[in-house]
C-alpha cells in the first residue's frame, strides 16, 4: 500500500516537460521489489525499480535496431523532504542489531550491511569511518562503550549535528542506567524507547536536556521498579515538564532538598608527548569543572576564580551567562539539578606545563635470537608536593612479541597475548623507592625484529591539586535564602600522556 502510494507520486513525473506522460505501468514482483515500465516513446522505455531500502532505481532501455540498450537516466525527482535523522540502529560489538528506532517510515535493517562491510575492512572498530555513503542513504556512526550507534540519514545535514546528538543519546542512557551497554539497554528497552521518542521528533532533536527528560520519564530505581511491579505504576512522570517551556530549560521546577549542597570538581588532564630523551614534544592542560548541585528552588550561583587569566579557551554549559564571563570573568549561572559539566577549559599555552613524572626506559630487541629486553623506571618530577597515585603504564607491543617475563619492584603487570597490550599497574609513586619493571620479552621465532619501539601510555592521578594552578576563589548564591553547603575538589589526571621510545 505504501509502495503503491509512492509510485503514484512518481507517476506524475516526466523526465522532461516534452516527454509524454507515462503510458503504461506494470507492477511486478512482491512487495519488496516493484518494477514498472514507463514508455517514453516507442523506442524507449524506463524501468522503475523500487528497491527495498531505497527510493527508486531507474533504468532507461532504448531500442536501436536489434538491441535494447541499458542506461541510467538522471531525472529530477523532486526532493522528498527528509528529516535529519531517519532511523537509529544499535549494534553490538559482534555485529548484531539489537535495537532499532525509526522516526519515520521504516528503513530495512539491510542498510546496515554497508556498515558491516566497512567494519570488516577496518578490522579495528575504532577505524571505521564515522560517515559512510550508501546508494540511497548516508550512515553516520559513533562507537561508544563497545556499541555502535548507527543513524541513517537521507539528505544533507551537518554531520556533527548527528554525531553530537548520538553522543547525547549515549550520555542520556549512561545517565539513566549508570552504564551504556547492550544488556542494560535490553533490560530497559521500553524506557530507552520512550527516551528516544522524546529526544527526537521527526528527526529533529526535541528534548535533550537530562533535567527535562527526567521529568517526563523517570529513571528507574530499584525501589520504584519494585513498587511498579506491585502496583502497576509507571515510569512516566505524571507531572508535565515545565523546564522545557521556561527560560531555563535545563532546570526542572520545584526542586526540593533537605540538605542543600553544591560540589564542584576541578579536573585537569595533562596531554603530553615526551620524546625518547624525556624532553617535552608537546604538552597542554585541558580542564573541566564537573558540578553536582542539589539546591532547593531557583538558586543563582556565581563562581569566581583567583586567577581566571589562566583560562585560554572555554566552553560552557548553556546555563552560564556568557556576557558576565566576558566582562567580569566570573561564572554566573542558574544550575541544572544534579550532575552536569559546567565548563571545559584550555589553559593558555604560554604557561609551561608541569610534567609530574619522568620515565627512564629502554626497550631493545636483539637482532640475534628471538628476544628483547625491557627496563622501565618511573620517578616524580614536578608533583606540586603531592603524591602521584593510580600510576599505570600501558604499552601496545609489536605483533611479534609473544610473551613477557618481567619483574616489577612495585605493583603488578599483565600481558594480554591476544591484544599484545602490556599493562603495569603501579599504584602510588614512592619517591624514596622508585618503581621499576624489567625483564625479557620473547619474540616470535623467525619474525623480523620490530622496527619501532612501542610508546608508553601513562595514567596517573594527583589529588587535591589542579596542575595549572587554577583556584576557585568563591561561590556565592543569590535568589534563595538558605545557606548551602559548598565544596570544591581538585584533581589532576594524565590525559593522553605518551612517552615515545
Amino acid at each position: 500500500m505504501i509502495l503503491q502510494q509512492q509510485i503514484s507520486v512518481e507517476l506524475n513525473m516526466r523526465n522532461s516537460p516534452s516527454d509524454p506522460p507515462c503510458q503504461s505501468a506494470l507492477f511486478k514482483g512482491g512487495h519488496q521489489n516493484i518494477t514498472f515500465h514507463q514508455h517514453v516513446n516507442p523506442s524507449q522505455f524506463i524501468v522503475w525499480e523500487l528497491l527495498q531500502d531505497g527510493p527508486i532505481c531507474r533504468r532507461l532501455f532504448s531500442n536501436s535496431g536489434n538491441f535494447w540498450h541499458t542506461g541510467t537516466i538522471s531525472c529530477n525527482i523532486p526532493e522528498l523532504a527528509a528529516e535529519m535523522i531517519h532511523s537509529l540502529f544499535l549494534i553490538n560489538h559482534s555485529g548484531d542489531i539489537f535495537l532499532e528506532k525509526h522516526w519515520k517510515s521504516v528503513i530495512s535493517r539491510s542498510v546496515c550491511d554497508y556498515f558491516f562491510e566497512a567494519k570488516e575492512k577496518a578490522v579495528d572498530p575504532e577505524n571505521v569511518s564515522p560517515v559512510l555513503q550508501t546508494p540511497h542513504h548516508y550512515l553516520i556512526t559513533i562507537y561508544r562503550d563497545k556499541l555502535f550507534f548507527l543513524s541513517v540519514i537521507q539528505t544533507e545535514v551537518p554531520p556533527l549535528f548527528v554525531i553530537e546528538f548520538l553522543h547525547r543519546v549515549a550520555d542520556t542512557i549512561q545517565d539513566y542506567f549508570g552504564e551504556c551497554s547492550e544488556s542494560v539497554i535490553m533490560d530497559n528497552v521500553v524506557t530507552v524507547y520512550e527516551l528516544l521518542e522524546e529526544m527526537l521528533d521527526n528527526g529533529f532533536p526535541l528534548a535533550t536536556e537530562s533535567n527535562v527528560l527526567k521529568e517526563m520519564i523517570r529513571p528507574p530505581t530499584i525501589l520504584r521498579s519494585v513498587v511498579n511491579t506491585l502496583t502497576g505504576g509507571s515510569n512516566v512522570g505524571d507531572t508535565l515538564p515545565t523546564g522545557q517551556l521556561s527560560n531555563i530549560p535545563w532546570r526542572r521546577a520545584g526542586v526540593k532538598y533537605t540538605n542543600n549542597e553544591a560540589y564542584f570538581d576541578v579536573i585537569e588532564e595533562i596531554d603530553a608527548i615526551l620524546d625518547k630523551s624525556g624532553s617535552t614534544v608537546f604538552a597542554e592542560i585541558q580542564g573541566v569543572i564537573e558540578a553536582c548541585v542539589r539546591l532547593t528552588g531557583m538558586p543563582d550561583l556565581t563562581l569566581s576564580f583567583m586567577n581566571p587569566r589562566l583560562l585560554d579557551d572555554v566552553s560552557f554549559h548553556p546555563c552560564v551567562r556568557f556576557k558576565r564571563w566576558e566582562s567580569e570573568r566570573v561564572l554566573s549561572f542558574i544550575p541544572p539539578d544534579g550532575n552536569f559539566t559546567l565548563m571545559n577549559y584550555h589553559v593558555s599555552s604560554q604557561n609551561l606545563v608541569a610534567i609530574p613524572v619522568y620515565v627512564k626506559q629502554s626497550i631493545t630487541f636483539f637482532e640475534m635470537g628471538p628476544c628483547g629486553r625491557l627496563d622501565i623506571t618511573i620517578g616524580p618530577k614536578q608533583t606540586m608536593g603531592k603524591t602521584v597515585e593510580a600510576l599505570m603504564v600501558t604499552i601496545h607491543m609489536p605483533k611479534a612479541v609473544l610473551s613477557a617475563n618481567l619483574t616489577p619492584t612495585q605493583g603488578n603487570y599483565t600481558y594480554d597475548l591476544a591484544t599484545k597490550v602490556l599493562v603495569w599497574d603501579i599504584g602510588k609513586l614512592n619517591p624514596q623507592k622508585l618503581p621499576n619493571l624489567r625483564g625479557s620479552l620473547s619474540l616470535q621465532a623467525g619474525a623480523p625484529k620490530p622496527e619501532d619501539n612501542p610508546s608508553l601510555n601513562i595514567d596517573l592521578k594527583i589529588q587535591q591539586v589542579a596542575i595549572s594552578g587554577l583556584k576557585v576563589s568563591r561561590l556565592d548564591m543569590y535568589g534563595e535564602k538558605y545557606k548551602p553547603f559548598k565544596g570544591v575538589k581538585y584533581l589532576t589526571k594524565a590525559g593522553k600522556f605518551q612517552v615515545r621510545t
Binding site: 527528509a82 545535514v157 551537518p158 549535528f161 553522543h167 520512550e194 517551556l245 608527548i273 560552557f316 566576558e326
Partner: protein, 1115 residues
C-alpha cells in the same frame, strides 16, 4: 524493617530475573528469524507471524483485559518487539483501542505503536484520529502538543486536510510549545504531501514572525525543508533571528546559523578584498605583517560592512563557546564563509578545542581544518602541535592530522615537522607510515629548501624492512626525481640495487620507469635491469610488464647496440601476453621503434615521442578542492554532493536592497545595536560609491524636492551623522505633542522614506493610510515591541535631512520649502504614534488570540505563568486589546554631552520594555556615540551612588570607533522613587559622573485588565489612596485618541477599554513593588476633566498627577 526491605528486594530481583528470561527467549526467537532472513534474502511476512503467534495471542488477551497494569505490561512487550524490529502489526486493532487510555504511560506506548504501524493499517488508524482531534482542544498545552505530534506522525494520506487544519490552528496557539510542535508538523506534512506547499509556506511565514526562542529553531528547520529558496521570507525576521540566536536551544542554533549563512551570501557584498582571493603568497604576507595589512585594507578599500552583516557576525561569536560541537562548527563555517579574512582567526581556538572531543567529532573537525589549512596556513600554524599524532589515534584520524601538518609546513617549521614525521615513519601502523612518506614527498616538492634532505631521508627508507614503506618510498622518490631534473644518478643506482628485493608491483614499476626515463644517466645499469626483467617477465604483474616494455623501448632508442636482442625478446613475450593491454602496447611500441617499410612516418619521431621531457607530477592535498562545498556539511565530509545539498551562492556584486530588513524591530535584548548611528552610514556611503544606479532606482519615484534633501543627508551623515540625528529626533519628539495633525506634512514625509516602504503593502489595512511610514511599524507593534530604534532610524533620516538642509543648502532651497520641511519633521512622529495604536489593534484582530501575551514572549520568557494568563484571557478576546503595551513617542535625554565627555556622548531613553535582567528594573537604552577623532576603549559603568543602587550594567564595550555609536541596554532598579541613579561612565582613560532621573511615568509598566476589574480595583484603593484634581485640557486634546496619546506619552500605562465615551481609564503597576496605579479621566464640559489616580503610593500619585496635568494641558 531491614528484613522487610531485603525480602522486598529479593522479590524484585526474582521478578526481574523472570523478565530477563522472557527477554532472552525473545532474543532467541529473534536469532532464528534473523538467520532465516539471511537465508532467504526476501523475508516474507508469514514467517515472523508464525514464530510469534502464541506470544501475540497472549498479548492480545492482555491488551483486551480491563486492568491497566496488564495492558501496560502487554504494551511494554509490544514496544520491545518493535524495538527489536519484529512485526507486531496484527496487534493493531487491540492496541488502537487503548489510545484514549487515562494512564499516561500506556498512552505514550500506544502512541509509539501507532506511529510505527499506522501507515500499514490506515483504515484502522483512522479510528484513533478523533481522539487526537479532541486532544488538540485540551486546555493543557502539553496534551495539545503531543496530540499534534502523534497526529502528524501518522502517515495516512487521508488525514492530510485534518493535519493541515490542526497545524494552522496550532501555529496560532498561545503556547510556544504547541507552536513549536506545529513547526515540526509542517515538515511531516510536507514530506507526505508536497502539494500542500503553498499553504504550508503561509504557516511558516506566520511562525517566522514568532518571537519565542522555542519556536525559532523549529520553524527555520521547516523553512529549510519546505521552501529554502523563499529567502524573501527571512528579510523581515533577519534581525530578530540574529538577536534571538543566543537563547535558542542548541539544535535550533545549528539550523539557524546555516540558514543565515546562506542568506548572508545572497544579501551582502563580499568583505574580502578584491584580488586577495585566497592567494597563498598574499596570505603569508598577511600574517607576517598583521597590522600593516590591516591598514592597507582600510585605505585601499571603500568597502564598509553592512551593519546587518556585522550583526550576524557579532551575535554568533559567543556561540563559539558552546558545549555543543555542532554549534561551534557551524559558527566556524559561518565565519569562514562570511567574515572578513582577518576575523576568521577567532574560530581557530574553538576548533582546536573540539579536537579533545569524541573520535567522530575529531574526524569531522579535522576534515574541515584540513580544508581550511590549505587556504590559510596562518590560522592553524600556532596550533601545529595539537595535530601531532599519537599512537593511540584511529588510522583515519592519524591520516587527517598528517594531512594538516603537511598543509601547515613552511620554511620555518619544516624541520620540526620532518622530525615529527621521522617518528611516524616508524609507526607500527603501516598504512599510516606509508601516508607519512607521501606527506614527506609533498613537503619536499612544496618547500625547495628541504627537497634534498627529504630525498636522502627517503632513500634511507629504501632499506627499511617493511615492504609497504619501501614501496611507498620508491613511488615518492620517483615523483621527486621527476620534479628535480638535476643529477640523481646515485639514487637511481641505489634503487636498481634494491630492485631484486622489492616485490610490490607499483614500486617495481616505478623503478623501471625511472631507469627508462634516465637511462642515459645510468648507461651501465639499465641494460642489466632489463636483462633481469626479461627473465622474470612472464611472472610479473601487468603494470610491471608495461613498464618493462617501456624500458625496453627507451633503451632500444638510446642504446640499441646492447639491448636490441633483449628488446626483441621482450616484445615477443608481450605479443603473446594474456592481457590485451600489454599486447596492444607491444604492438604499438614495435611499430614505433623498429623500422620497417610500412611504418616509416612515425619512426622518425620515436625518440621524441618516447623521450619527451615530461612534466613533473604535482603533489597536492586531497583536500585541495574540498572548499567547493560549504564547510561542516555532509557533502564536504564525503567530498560528493549529498542529496539536498544547497549550494552557497557567490557574493552578489551589488548588495540587494538593504532596507527590506528594516521593518523588523530590534530587540531590546541586544546590548549594542548598531542601529541608530550605523544603519545610516553605509547608506550614505552608497551615495558616493559607484552603485549609484541602484539608489537611483529607489529614488526614481520620489519627488524632486527629495533629491536635494537626500544629497544633503549624505553630507550631514558624513560628519558624525548619528549625533545630529538624535538631537533632531529628540527635538521632534518634543515638538510632536504640540504640533497639530498636518496631513500635507505627513504625505511629504511618506514620500521621503519611500525606499523603506516599497515592500510594505499591507498597510492598506490601516485606516489612516495617508502616512506610509506607519505601515512600516505595523510589524513591530503586533509583536508588542518598542518602536524605539525604529522610530529614530527612519525618522532620523528625514529630520536630519531638513535640518542640515536649512544650514548648508540654504542657497539652493527656498525659505518656503524649509518651512515646509520643518513641519514635516514635527508632524511625522505624531502620525506615527497615533496610527501605531490602531494598526496594532487591527493586527490583533487579524491574528486572533495569539498576540495577547506577545509582549511577554518577546522577552523570551515563555513561562508557564504567562501561558496561563493567556489561557484565561483567551475567551474574552474583545477586551484583550488593552494588553498591547502602549508606546508613546520616545523621549531621549542626554546623559553625557560630548563636550564634557571628551568626545564620548551618551543619550538615553526608556525603552518601556520589561527589563530582562530583573523584573524590578526599568530598562534603559543608552546610545553611546564617539564624536572624537580617536577610538574610545573599554567603555563601562564604574562606581555608582547610592551604593545600594542596583544596576544591571551593559557589557564593557571594548572599542568604539570614531563616529560610531552603539546602543546598549541597561537595567536600573529605581525602587519606585524618582531619585536619580548616579553612576560613572568610564572609558579606559576617563570617568564621567552621570545621572539618570526617571520621570515618574517611566517607573510604571502597563497592566492589563478589563473595565470591571478596573472598577473593582479602584474600589479597593479609595480614601487616602486616591488623588484627584480637576484639570483643564488643551482643546486639541479632547478627542479620545489625543488623550490616550498624551497620557501614554507621559506614563507607561496600559489603556483600559471603556464603554463610556467621556471616561478614559489607564492601568499600570510600579516596576519595583508591583503596586497598582490606576488613572481615570472623566471629561467634563468645556475641556475640563476630573483626573483621578488610585494607588498605594501616594507620593507617586501626586507626582504622576502633576505630570499628566501638564501633559494634557499643553497642545
Amino acid at each position: 524493617m531491614d528484613v522487610g526491605f531485603s525480602s522486598l528486594r529479593s522479590e524484585a530481583v526474582g521478578a526481574m530475573r523472570t523478565a530477563l528470561v522472557s527477554a532472552e527467549n525473545l532474543q532467541l526467537t529473534l536469532k532464528t528469524e534473523l538467520s532465516q532472513e539471511e537465508q532467504a534474502l526476501t523475508h516474507t511476512k508469514s514467517s515472523p507471524k508464525e514464530t510469534h503467534k502464541t506470544g501475540n495471542e497472549d498479548l492480545k488477551e492482555m491488551l483486551e483485559s480491563n486492568k491497566d497494569s496488564l495492558k501496560l505490561e502487554a504494551m511494554k512487550r509490544v514496544v520491545g518487539l518493535i524495538a527489536k524490529g519484529k512485526n507486531a502489526s496484527e496487534l493493531f486493532p487491540a492496541v488502537v483501542k487503548n489510545v484514549a487510555s487515562k494512564n499516561i504511560e500506556l498512552k505514550k506506548l500506544v502512541y509509539v505503536y501507532l506511529v510505527r504501524y499506522a501507515e500499514e493499517q490506515q483504515d484502522l488508524a483512522l479510528l484513533s484520529i478523533s481522539t487526537f482531534q479532541r486532544a488538540l482542544k485540551d486546555p493543557n498545552q502539553f496534551i495539545r502538543g503531543s496530540a499534534l505530534r502523534v497526529l502528524s506522525s501518522i502517515r495516512v494520506p487521508i488525514i492530510v486536510p485534518i493535519m493541515m487544519l490542526a497545524i494552522k490552528e496550532a501555529a496560532a496557539d498561545l503556547s510556544p510549545y504547541v507552536r513549536k510542535t506545529s513547526a515540526h508538523a509542517i515538515q511531516k506534512l510536507y514530506s507526505m504531501d508536497p502539494d500542500q506547499k503553498e499553504q504550508l509556506i503561509e504557516v511558516i511565514e506566520k511562525l517566522l514572525k514568532d518571537k519565542s526562542t522555542l519556536v525559532a529553531g523549529s520553524v527555520v528547520m521547516a523553512f529549510e525543508e519546505v521552501c529554502p529558496d523563499r529567502i524573501d521570507l527571512i528579510h523581515k525576521n533577519y534581525r530578530k533571528l540574529c538577536n534571538l540566536l543566543v537563547d535558542v536551544e542548541e539544535w535550533g542554533q545549528v539550523v539557524i546559523i546555516s540558514m543565515l549563512t546562506r542568506y548572508a551570501r545572497t544579501q551582502f557584498t563580499s568583505p574580502w578584498k578584491e584580488g586577495a582571493m585566497f592567494d597563498e603568497n598574499n596570505e603569508k604576507a598577511f600574517y607576517d605583517s598583521d597590522s600593516e595589512e590591516k591598514k592597507d585594507q582600510t585605505e585601499a578599500q571603500p568597502y564598509i560592512m553592512d551593519p546587518d552583516h556585522r550583526l550576524l557576525l557579532r551575535n554568533t561569536k559567543p556561540l563559539l563557546q558552546s558545549r555543543n560541537t555542532a554549534v561551534v562548527m557551524s559558527v566556524a563555517q559561518l565565519y569562514w564563509h562570511l567574515a572578513p579574512k582577518h576575523e576568521v582567526n577567532i574560530v581557530t581556538k574553538s576548533l582546536v578545542r573540539l579536537l579533545r572531543s569524541h573520535r567522530e567529532v575529531q574526524y569531522i573537525v579535522l576534515q574541515n581544518i584540513a580544508t581550511m589549512s590549505i587556504q590559510r596556513k596562518g590560522m592553524f600554524e600556532p596550533f601545529m602541535k595539537s595535530f601531532y599524532v599519537r599512537s593511540t589515534d584511529a588510522t583515519h584520524i592519524k591520516t587527517l592530522k598528517l594531512e594538516i601538518l603537511t598543509n601547515l609546513a613552511n620554511e620555518a617549521n619544516i624541520s620540526t615537522i620532518l622530525r615529527e614525521f621521522q617518528t611516524y615513519v616508524k609507526s607500527q601502523d603501516k598504512a599510516f607510515a606509508a601516508a607519512t612518506i607521501q606527506a614527506i614527498g609533498r613537503c619536499a616538492t612544496n618547500i625547495s629548501e628541504v627537497t634534498d634532505t627529504c630525498l636522502n631521508g627517503l632513500v634511507l627508507l629504501l632499506s627499511n624492512r617493511d615492504e609497504t614503506v619501501v614501496a611507498e618510498s620508491v613511488v615518492v622518490i620517483k615523483k621527486l626525481l621527476q620534479t628535480q631534473p638535476t643529477q640523481h644518478s646515485e639514487i637511481i643506482k641505489h634503487m636498481a640495487k634494491l630492485f631484486d628485493n622489492i616485490t610490490v608491483s607499483m614500486a617495481r614499476a616505478s623503478i623501471l620507469w625511472l631507469m627508462g626515463e634516465y637511462c642515459e644517466r645510468v648507461p651501465k645499469i639499465a641494460p642489466d635491469v632489463l636483462r633481469k626483467m626479461a627473465k622474470t617477465f612472464t611472472a610479473e604483474e601487468d603494470i610491471v610488464k608495461l613498464q618493462t616494455v617501456n624500458l625496453a623501448a627507451k633503451l632500444y632508442l638510446t642504446n640499441s647496440k646492447q639491448t636490441k636482442l633483449l628488446t626483441q625478446y621482450i616484445l615477443n613475450l608481450g605479443k603473446y601476453d594474456q592481457s590485451y593491454d600489454i599486447r596492444d602496447r607491444t604492438r604499438f611500441i614495435r611499430q614505433l621503434i623498429v623500422p620497417n617499410e610500412k611504418s616509416g612516418a612515425l619512426n622518425k619521431y620515436a625518440r621524441r615521442i618516447l623521450l619527451a621531457p615530461k612534466p613533473a607530477p604535482v603533489l597536492e592535498s586531497a583536500f585541495k578542492d574540498r572548499d567547493r562545498y560549504q564547510l561542516g556539511t555532509l557533502s564536504h565530509s564525503l567530498n560528493t554532493k549529498a542529496a539536498g545539498y544547497l549550494e552557497l551562492s557567490d557574493w552578489p556584486a551589488v548588495a540587494p536592497d538593504q532596507s527590506v530588513r528594516n521593518v523588523e524591530v530590534i530587540e531590546p535584548v541586544q546590548e549594542w545595536a548598531p542601529l541608530v548611528g550605523k544603519t545610516k552610514k553605509p547608506k550614505s556611503d552608497k551615495f558616493y560609491s559607484d552603485d549609484e544606479e541602484e539608489k537611483e532606482e529607489e529614488r526614481s519615484k520620489s519627488s524632486g524636492s527629495e533629491d536635494s534633501s537626500s544629497s544633503s543627508s549624505s553630507s550631514s551623515s558624513d560628519e558624525s551623522g548619528s549625533e545630529s540625528e538624535e538631537e533632531s529626533s529628540e527635538e521632534s519628539d518634543k515638538t510632536s505633542s504640540d504640533s497639530g495633525k498636518s496631513s500635507s506634512g505627513s504625505e511629504k514625509s511618506s514620500s521621503e522614506s519611500e525606499p523603506e516602504q516599497k515592500k510594505k503593502k499591507k498597510m492598506t489595512k490601516a485606516p489612516q493610510k495617508k502616512s506610509k511610514p506607519t505601515a512600516a511599524f505595523s510589524d513591530s507593534d503586533e509583536n508588542g515591541n518598542g518602536p524605539v530604534a525604529q522610530a529614530s532610524s527612519s525618522s532620523a533620516e528625514s529630520s536630519s535631512d531638513s535640518e542640515t538642509d536649512s544650514e548648508d543648502d540654504s542657497d539652493s532651497d527656498s525659505h518656503a520649502t524649509q518651512q515646509k520641511k520643518k513641519r514635516d519633521v514635527k508632524s511625522k512622529p505624531k502620525v506615527e504614534v497615533k496610527s501605531k495604536v490602531e494598526v496594532s489593534l487591527l493586527d490583533l484582530d487579524d491574528f486572533s488570540p495569539a498576540p495577547t501575551n506577545a509582549p511577554k514572549s518577546l522577552v523570551v520568557s515563555s513561562s508557564l505563568l504567562s501561558d496561563l494568563e493567556g489561557l484565561s484571557l483567551s475567551n474574552i478576546s474583545s477586551t484583550m486589546q488593552v494588553t498591547t503595551p502602549s508606546f508613546g513617542p520616545v523621549k531621549t535625554y542626554e546623559l553625557l554631552h560630548h563636550m564634557t565627555g571628551k568626545g564620548l556622548s551618551a543619550k538615553y531613553h526608556f525603552s518601556r520594555q520589561p527589563c530582562l535582567y530583573q523584573p524590578s528594573m526599568v530598562a534603559v537604552q543608552v546610545i553611546l556615540t564617539n564624536s572624537s577623532d580617536h577610538s574610545l576603549e573599554e567603555i563601562h559603568i564604574g562606581d555608582r551612588s547610592p551604593a545600594s543602587l542596583n544596576i544591571h550594567c551593559f557589557n564593557t564595550i571594548e572599542r568604539l570607533e570614531p563616529e560610531a555609536s552603539v546602543t546598549v541596554s541597561m537595567g536600573i532598579d529605581f525602587s519606585d522613587s524618582t531619585q536619580a541613579a548616579n553612576f560613572q561612565l568610564c572609558t579606559k582613560e576617563d570617568q564621567f559622573s552621570v545621572s539618570i532621573q526617571p520621570a515618574v511615568g517611566e517607573l510604571l509598566m502597563p497592566s492589563t485588565m478589563t473595565e470591571q476589574d478596573f472598577s473593582k480595583e479602584q474600589g479597593k484603593l479609595l480614601g487616602m489612596n486616591e488623588t484627584s484634581a480637576t484639570i483643564t485640557m488643551a482643546t486639541a486634546n479632547t478627542s479620545s485618541q489625543a488623550i490616550s496619546k498624551q497620557v501614554l506619552c507621559a506614563a507607561n500605562v496600559g489603556v483600559v477599554s471603556s464603554s463610556a465615551n467621556n471616561f478614559h481609564r489607564f492601568a499600570g503597576r510600579t516596576v519595583s513593588s508591583r503596586a497598582l496605579v490606576l488613572v481615570s479621566l472623566e471629561l467634563k464640559e468645556s475641556s475640563t476633566a476630573l483626573l483621578t489616580i488610585n494607588t498605594e503610593k501616594s507620593v507617586m500619585a501626586s507626582m504622576l498627577l502633576r505630570d499628566l496635568k501638564q501633559a494634557l494641558a499643553q497642545a
